[in-house]
Amino acid sequence: MDFGYTTEQQDLRQEVRKFIDENVSQGLLDEMEAGEEGGRGPEYRELVKKVADKGWIGISWPKEYGGQSGSRIDQYIVEEEFMRRGIGIGGAGSGAPAILAAGTEEQKEYFIPGMIRGEIIFALGFTEPQAGADLAGLQCRAVRDGDDFVINGQKMYTSAAHYASHIYMMCRTDPDAPRHRGISIFLIPMDTPGITVRPLWTIQSDPPAPPGTTYGMPRTNETFFENVRVPASCMLGEENGGWYVGAMGLNLDRVGASRYLISVRRDEDIVNWVKENDFNGYSPAENPAVRDKIAEMWTEAQVCRLMTMRSMSLVNRGGNFTYEGSAEKVWAPEHGVKTTEAIAQMLGPYAQLLSNSEENIEDGLFAHNLMGSFQSGINHGSVQIMRDQMARRGLGMPRG
């Protein structure tokens, strides 16, 4: 057991911090604040290239595709430092693990370096109007036509679709096979004719949530596919084997700094806030009930951190997950909700004041977090489904 960082890793952290101080411009912050292209506009892409030049993106990915074949922990350190400034860099949620595991040589050579340089960004096209938690019920069709596939259907909540270069989507390729065995994954350029993206505005869109809010995203999308013709080489993994590639990819995508940090940042924020502020002389930091709750939440947050470290330790050892990724995906989101609600009760009526209100606290951060935090327990595998997986895959319980 080793719960510490090596000297090299501590140095890396310092170097990343210094880099961020020197390279994050006001222009980038303004661009992110404005939320154009999901905060991934020209300034962002410029920064990503510089970070990539340092060799800091995809550190744990293989050298031959532009990574460093390095430690997942090193990669985490970079992700964490950027995330703490509100900047998502590589890592979790990117789709890369699935491509590395199931992609052809051409796909790996094309996508991974592009992702490292920030030129390729994926939208995730899994959910459909009638297939969410029960994803295997998806209906979006891909029909083979010679060397091509033709796609028709609709995807819901395709969050990055309005600025992504590609979509990583699941389609039904064999409607007659058992549900899980008739699905394939496609990696498709968003500018392919026949794709239409329509915005869906979230409850965080008016007024906009301050940066760093858990699920502060103002916009997601629905994406329509009408006779979208793509070459068969867009398929990731085997035809009709997409369910297993997708599940594995989701599992690995759950690991990393982002999932953990969005659930615990408020634990730090509230401690730092009550130490420096009071309400006309009343300090919540002196209220015994508040103190007890803060300590309880801090302890739970440590468990979020340790679960993340455990998953990364497993990845570094060659990664054989049974339930650990799902465990993280239950504990962190539920903690995020608990702590957000507990904090609101510490701040009382101030915690309802939104970002554009007079008298708000931290630009309404805690109020907007009340609106957003529960969402991370629904998407990317809801906590109910994650508990099912823990019980079935982790503990061998029979299906209901």
Binding site: M1, D2, F3, G4, Y5, T6, Q9, I73, V264, D267, E268, V271, N272, V274, K275, A285, R291, D292, I294, A295, E296, W298, T299, E300, A301, Q302, V303, R305, L306, M307, M309, R310, M312, S313, L314, N316, R317, Y323, A327, V330, W331, Q384, M386, R387, D388, M390, A391, R392, G394, L395, G396, M397, P398, R399, G400
Partner: protein
């Protein structure tokens, strides 16, 4: 950073599990609940021969000098089978002496602990059972070259079988930065020392100990006069983390029994483990045991590294108090009526984990410590980084 057990650690765990599962049956656990000593000396001797009692005792005193994490793994496995041996109380006192005892004290006691011929315990709590200096009133009055003890200690483990007991006593009123507390070694069989058995949920050996004009010599003092409180705190931290190991070990075994039961018990024509509400209870048990285990071993690891670990210890205990308790209670629920029957073994675990959750600091006590570290010291906090230190 690799928070999973190393190959060597895993091997130790496996060996310990194999031995303990073979040697400690629930029949033995039940027998020891009624036994005068509360432990089988032959088993104790075997554990000494395996090198476990000297695991974290320095080599020059007959031990192996291994990290406390290793000892933690042994205690986790001991907790798993609820091994009825005075391992915890002996180790808490022994490691304290190893850290701060005089050479003579170490020479007199540690080799005897390592070879299994001496059982130890420790006594801090009194009627106000909070683990704070103000709660310590047991009076040690200077008397020539020694002291005379008067007062009462509560909840002392294994006092009936211990040959030495480390005791926190008040040698001076609190003044300035000094708490006026000193740490002594006492002989449980000495004159003016009387124990009264307490009957605990765990049905293990705890005592109230009354001191009436009990005299101790100069050589009984451990550490500096009046400056014993930091030593007591370090002892409590080690003891608390090691108790968490036992709790986590016991809770995991208890959860595994619920898992097996859920696979086999049929209701409404199918195994109860196929019902989603039962599955989700089981998933929560897994989250809780894993969480407690990771917090506990991080605390022990920090001690081994010589880093401050008090907050980590309190995190582990506050969490285990609630979550290990929740695990064993949920296991009772999943077992239905049978779990409530005396002849069914499940309650052996339930009763122990429940008792342990009330020892060495309640949830509130530990959270108060965490809150103080977070809120009463200036400076920004950040998860995963050391907390700001006071001046």
């Amino acid at each position: 950073m690799d928070i999973l057990p190393s190959e060597e650690e895993q091997m130790l765990k496996n060996v310990a599990r194999e031995f303990l599962e073979a040697e400690v049956s629930t029949a033995l656990v039940r027998e020891m609940e009624l036994d005068g000593l509360g432990y089988p000396p032959a088993l104790w001797k075997q554990m000494a021969d395996l090198g476990w009692l000297g695991m974290s005792i320095p080599e020059q005193f007959g031990g192996q000098g291994l990290p406390i994490t290793y000892l933690g793994l042994i205690l986790e496995e001991a907790g798993r089978v609820m091994a009825p041996v005075p391992l915890h109380s002996t180790m808490v006192a022994a490691l304290t002496l190893a850290a701060i005892g005089t050479d003579q004290q170490k020479q007199d006691i540690l080799p005897a602990v390592s070879d299994g011929s001496m059982v130890l315990t420790w006594a801090v709590q009194e009627r106000d059972a909070r683990l704070i200096p103000d709660a310590i009133e047991l009076d040690a009055k200077a008397d020539g070259d020694g002291w005379i003890l008067n007062g009462t200690k509560m909840f002392v483990d294994n006092f009936v079988v211990a040959e030495r007991c480390l005791i926190a006593a008040r040698t001076s009123p609190k003044s300035g930065s000094s708490q006026g507390i000193s740490l002594f070694i006492v002989d449980p069989n000495g004159n003016g020392v009387n124990q009264t058995a307490l009957v605990t949920l765990a049905k293990d050996k705890q005592s109230r100990v009354d001191f009436k004009d009990h005299r101790i010599e100069r050589t009984a003092l451990v550490g500096e006069l009046d400056e014993g409180w930091p030593l007591v705190e370090a002892m409590l931290d080690r003891g608390t983390a090691l108790l968490c190991c036992q709790m986590v070990g016991a809770a995991r075994k208890d959860a595994e029994m619920a898992i097996e039961y859920a696979k086999n018990r049929v209701a409404f024509g199918r195994p109860i483990g196929s019902f989603q509400s039962v599955q989700h209870m089981l998933a929560d048990m897994l989250l809780h045991v894993d969480g407690g285990e990771m917090l506990t071993f991080e605390a022990l690891w920090k001690m081994d590294e010589g880093l401050p670990a008090s907050v980590e210890v309190s995190q582990a205990k506050a969490f285990c108090n609630e979550k290990c308790e929740s695990v064993v209670r949920t296991s009772q629920v999943i077992h239905g009526g049978i779990g409530f029957m005396m002849e069914f073994d499940l309650h052996l675990w339930f009763r122990r984990v429940t008792s342990w959750s009330l020892r060495l600091g309640t949830t509130y006590d530990h959270r108060a410590r965490i809150a103080s570290a977070l809120l009463d010291v200036p400076g920004q906090v950040r998860l995963g980084m050391p907390l700001p230190m006071g001046v």
